[in-house]
Symmetry: D2
Subunit: 337 residues, 4 copies
Amino acid sequence: MIIVMKQGASPSQIQAIKEEIEGLGLSPFIEAGSERTIIGVVGDDRAVQLDHFYTLRGVEKVIPILKPYKLVSREFQPNGTQISVKGQVIGGKKIQVIAGPCAIESPDQLRMAAHAVKKAGVTIMRASAFKPRTSPYDFQGTGKEGLKWLKEIGDEEELVTETEVMDPRDVGMVGSYADILRVGARNMQNFDLLKEVGQINKPVVLKNGLASTMKEFLLAAEYIMSQGNKNVILCYRGIRSFETAIRFPLDIGMIPLLKKETHLPVIIDPSHSMGRPDIVPEASCGMIAAGADGLLVDVHCHPDEALCDGKQALQPEHFYPMMENLRKIAVAIGREL
Amino acid sequence: MIIVMKQGASPSQIQAIKEEIEGLGLSPFIEAGSERTIIGVVGDDRAVQLDHFYTLRGVEKVIPILKPYKLVSREFQPNGTQISVKGQVIGGKKIQVIAGPCAIESPDQLRMAAHAVKKAGVTIMRASAFKPRTSPYDFQGTGKEGLKWLKEIGDEEELVTETEVMDPRDVGMVGSYADILRVGARNMQNFDLLKEVGQINKPVVLKNGLASTMKEFLLAAEYIMSQGNKNVILCYRGIRSFETAIRFPLDIGMIPLLKKETHLPVIIDPSHSMGRPDIVPEASCGMIAAGADGLLVDVHCHPDEALCDGKQALQPEHFYPMMENLRKIAVAIGREL
Amino acid sequence: MIIVMKQGASPSQIQAIKEEIEGLGLSPFIEAGSERTIIGVVGDDRAVQLDHFYTLRGVEKVIPILKPYKLVSREFQPNGTQISVKGQVIGGKKIQVIAGPCAIESPDQLRMAAHAVKKAGVTIMRASAFKPRTSPYDFQGTGKEGLKWLKEIGDEEELVTETEVMDPRDVGMVGSYADILRVGARNMQNFDLLKEVGQINKPVVLKNGLASTMKEFLLAAEYIMSQGNKNVILCYRGIRSFETAIRFPLDIGMIPLLKKETHLPVIIDPSHSMGRPDIVPEASCGMIAAGADGLLVDVHCHPDEALCDGKQALQPEHFYPMMENLRKIAVAIGREL
Amino acid sequence: MIIVMKQGASPSQIQAIKEEIEGLGLSPFIEAGSERTIIGVVGDDRAVQLDHFYTLRGVEKVIPILKPYKLVSREFQPNGTQISVKGQVIGGKKIQVIAGPCAIESPDQLRMAAHAVKKAGVTIMRASAFKPRTSPYDFQGTGKEGLKWLKEIGDEEELVTETEVMDPRDVGMVGSYADILRVGARNMQNFDLLKEVGQINKPVVLKNGLASTMKEFLLAAEYIMSQGNKNVILCYRGIRSFETAIRFPLDIGMIPLLKKETHLPVIIDPSHSMGRPDIVPEASCGMIAAGADGLLVDVHCHPDEALCDGKQALQPEHFYPMMENLRKIAVAIGREL
């Protein structure tokens, strides 16, 4: 349910509504807009009479939210959310291509990649120190050491940094090194992790699970927002299917659909979905044309030597022309990149 | 296997190769290019020694085709196939938006739709008289009567016509009314139908099955080509998955991947894949940007009254601005529409 | 809708109901039971008032069928259908293991297999002369020649025969050689073929499509029944999924669910679903215990030399002990085999 | 790689092998059998020469393990693992039906359910205090309070208890209240949780993820075993597919396949897979006949009032006859229940 206050409603009226909501065992989320304040009410509000709120002072109207997701829904917040971090905006006119190596392997490898993506105009770098790997015998990441390199090289190159967090116990620590945290596909329904990243105030990139429906994806984002963190960025990365020629088919329709259903920024991971670099540039053009707010791209200077997912990474010489083509598409649809 | 003849190889040399191939129980497919002739060899050629052909006169080189599909593969014909029908080219620089109602319901309904799509710049109209319906109690199409209307209205409006054929016994009859035949998703592995449309010389649009892999899709096209019909247009229309918010998820990566694997034109059906008109325009922009040669779009003047799949059809007032946006994307990637 | 006539309703009363139904543009299906006659009404009956029929003479009650499938639904016919062919009953107390080679390759190969399965107690033999193959370059079956061998060897060994039909033009011909016809998974929604087999009076085994829902499967059976052929046997053969260790995962719950939804016999294909013989015996035990009325099993005396799907066929030495184990399960659940 | 020691190999010889393995950066897992000791070697052993180990004293033979999973593979340990907890054995001749309510709601609700399942012959009770729920607004479980009730009522009724753990920080605490811990489907690739449960010495039930392959499932079990905990029980609970009539299709072939691939006990969850109680009894019969070592069944005395997944729970009056039928199947295949 959303309560829209009258223009000029007083702080004490707003406070009274807030207390009323809490008295019903529900949670109020207050958005003070430039013209009027709106109050989101979340929790099991099925037993609450909407009419009751009309009797309270300062209330303009009360709108039920029919979707199972509340705070993330476009109904709750008709304007798209823009998330700012160190001067970079995600969800604005500018399309953000977040790029970098899948895994942080060494300072040299990371520095080379950082240099390469910056040269292409990238302002946010991705790179993971913690890697969720299918086998316990595969390379598990460089951990805290890797995060230190990430911070150091991000500072050197003036790049905003984005990295994965897997364990709820690590959220604070990872947040002390990186600007944006990522919850990976395998952890989309790791609810304790979602609650933990919901309690920091850093942007969180949330990837959809391999077999998650759109509704489940948005409810996972709702877990984060309902803990208080409004800075959620959805990253769609495709789903598992029977097709073997492409790693995780990525439904192009999910981009406009997510943009309709939610006010959160929507970015796409062409690298982990396609699983092969040869079709990443054309697929990426399609994603941008369909309305994505950004991409999350694996770029590696020496993919053959990569310790993780190397075979899907783009080399800089293929990444540069792709960026040029993406720019042309961005301009054609009235955006920039 | 592909045999590339020397420049200036004589007709009798080519004839000798042809006989040699047939003597081995295989089938030769001869492509007389402007500079040199190439001969495709299909059938089970595993036991044949490539070296043997090098000893024959006029042979420049012999190239094995490693893919299970031969005639449809890009290895067999590196340049993209362009299919001409009544002055319209599919697979060329111009992106073809094939549009019209899902089903032919009445002369009036078809005429209105034809008028509407022509006004938007469309030159090829889709409309089906035979409808594969899940339930025997649903509207089954207007059959031969509908095809007569299709021919009449296509002629009136000077539109090339495209329509579905379901029964191998109807191929000749349907071909006498329409310019392009379509084999639907449910019939992608109806091998007797494929063989039948392989024996006419009209263009055939082949849609992928709901649970078909790319390899199976291309082998279905191979069935048609191996019967002699070179005019195959692939239409990707998404796959079945667990997601319920979108009818048949459409993997954007399949567009560049098909273009790499095959020389055939690739068009996309945004209407039957998305299953809802609200996201068709943005999804279509993505499909064009990713390299599709065309679209197959349901347009209906009164979707609420449609006898079949009305809820997914675009109304003309939404189709016109979509065409404008598609044109901008086409220009941005160096094509036209 | 089902109209249950009063005990002792006269033929003229029944005839009057029949005409009333036809006058409404619907189709009557009359079941003359030992005690009373029931009349199924199919077609789009949404606009028809049930009450109207209560006013007609001889009517006991009128029951709406809420399922989209009518004639195949358990509501329409509460007792399970038993289908008899040459003294063998499918859908009765006896569990029918239909076994034989995937494809008919030669008289010798078929005779050996027939001998082997008969020795194990099998009374119905499967073997296909027409093979739907993914590639046009794969073995396509022995066709009409193979059917002649099938008839000859079936007669010799006194085995009922079951074989696939793919082309609507072949239905009569195939029916002249074999006792039971099969519509394969790829043709489950080949509606012209369904209509054609609906017009003969031989039993038809209908396999589910690889990506078909239960509802679509039952509506495909409804296509056959609505043409007049009541002898439909459902064969569940699993679905396509992302798993690669098993060819087509076979949901054990589909067995009791189909038995609840429909009165038709339900058999299972453990060979094409599992795609590997090593797990067929245990999986088959599970299928029987869950309530299947029979199995459709690939048995081949020399699987390594098979021209089609050899790697999934059981050899006789593994088939015999499997039959013993199935018999124990059958007894434990009060059936026989 | 597995190193089989000679009969009578001395402790110092074994110690020498152990040190050799560690010196190569690999991990030894020593199984002291009644006749001879075998040593599993895990880690990236691709660069290690098998021959090298033959030169060491006491070595009988060296066997490579070709599967990506080592400790869980049947190659590593040909005999099936039997796991004992408070006198109950999982993986032995007796089939264990683990039953109880999905969620612990109150002491009364749990006590009634405990009583009901015990009366049916159950010796291990399932019940969850921590619930992974799709929406943050759904009932999230009774937490630590619920675990206290579980311990108290388990003690009263002399039932072994099994419950879910979701957060790596809770593993020790949950283990102090319950006899068997469960990692749910959504956490199958929550690798930090797997590592944590790998370090306790309580049995762990591991459920497969909704879109996990068999290989990924076994590698998740490998994560637990490679941390030292040998008491892993695999629980297969079906996969996500396009079918909507059944919640998570459960491939019957996965039971014999898992039993071939791994020595770990395999139990099945018919309740969460089927998602509807009406087909659970027949499906369960199929699972037992196919070789499952046990079941995990939701039983609730008042399903309509359940706070979670009530609609799939069996009521005691349906659970009792199901147990009778399962017993008949168990006897038919030479087991007991």
